[in-house]
């Protein structure tokens, strides 16, 4: 009964949506601010990747809000899942030899690849969030392959807080000198397509990469705790 009523309701909503979406042409330019960012993005920020310059420089405040939302979600998750009972150290069955050796071999390589992606965020597709997710996948591999080893929580908290603080401090320095707005790009732009270019964009993306990687690894660590 419930499924039939909701199906009919969704069909009515789908018909209404189809009537209005038909008026949106596919493949035509709809706004003018995209053209502004593409034409002036290279000389104003110095980054070759326009999406990076939009995320970090032109709309950096939204990125600050997103980092805050992720942080609050991790706090909420660890508060809900906290147990007061001491966890019993049961006997953990070790993984097979091939899996164990393979995971130990692959872990530094995946970390290196993730770090490469978030350091070169302003030159190639990539950036802090993608590189942070790849670093978190490396931690997941350690949890699956080498059973019984955990990430040390103190170090992960230090790295995460450090990343967030660097983002805020760089933004506030931009507020004081020069431009009178948050996240003013105060470092020299350099030449295009080199590593040390685009002002503070590599610094902010390295901070975001460290923060997101340790946060997502912390989520997996807290969910994997055996309790009750």
């Amino acid at each position: 009964m419930r499924s039939i009523i909701s199906f009919i309701l969704l069909l009515i909503i789908a018909w209404g949506v189809a009537l209005s979406v038909e008026k949106i042409p596919f493949g035509e330019s709809k706004t003018r601010i995209g053209d502004y960012y593409i034409e002036r993005g290279r000389e104003e920020t110095g980054a070759s990747n326009i999406v990076t310059s939009v995320v970090v420089n032109y709309r950096g405040f939204d990125t600050l809000g997103e980092v805050t939302v992720l942080f609050v979600a991790v706090i909420g998750l660890s508060a809900v899942l906290a147990t007061r009972r001491k966890q019993k150290k049961g006997a953990v069955e070790p993984a097979s030899l091939v899996l164990y050796t393979g995971c130990r071999f692959l872990f530094p390589l995946i970390l290196l690849f993730g770090a490469y992606i978030f350091i070169h965020g302003h030159l190639t597709p990539g950036g802090g969030f993608q590189g942070g997710a790849i670093v978190a996948s490396a931690f997941l591999l350690v949890y699956m392959g080498c059973r019984g080893r955990r990430i040390s929580r103190t170090r992960s908290k230090v790295v995460e807080s450090f990343g967030g603080l660097v983002f805020l401090v760089v933004g506030l320095i931009g507020l004081t000198l020069g431009g009178h707005y948050f996240l003013f790009n105060f470092l020299p732009k350099g030449e295009i397509n080199t590593l040390f270019s685009a002002g503070f964009i590599p610094i902010i993306y390295i901070a975001i990469g460290c923060k997101v990687g340790s946060e997502l690894g912390g989520i997996i660590d807290r969910l994997l705790e055996d309790s009750e």
Binding site: Q130, A133, I134, S137, I219, I220, L223
Partner: protein, 79 residues
């Protein structure tokens, strides 16, 4: 070209229907992982490589992993 995109969209919708209908929750998670992967391919066809990389690494790898860990701590079969 349009044939490939149409086939991929059809496969994505079939995977979404399968995620609705499976009774074993791990099969439903694998179907939703397939939806994420085909969405990453479609993001690449729409000339958005940043978003494709983010959707593939976050949506297909990490979301499926935390779903499977959560299923391990609760029941596996839906009834």
């Amino acid at each position: 070209m349009i044939l490939i995109v149409g086939l991929l969209v059809l496969l994505m919708l079939v995977a979404a229907i399968a995620a609705l209908l499976f009774k074993d929750l791990i099969n439903a998670v694998i179907a939703s992982c397939m939806v994420s992967l085909i969405a990453a391919i479609l993001f690449y066809f729409l000339q958005a490589p940043d978003v494709a990389m983010a959707e593939a690494s976050i949506g297909a790898a990490l979301v499926s992993a935390i779903f499977i860990i959560a299923i391990r701590r609760t029941k596996r079969y839906e009834e």
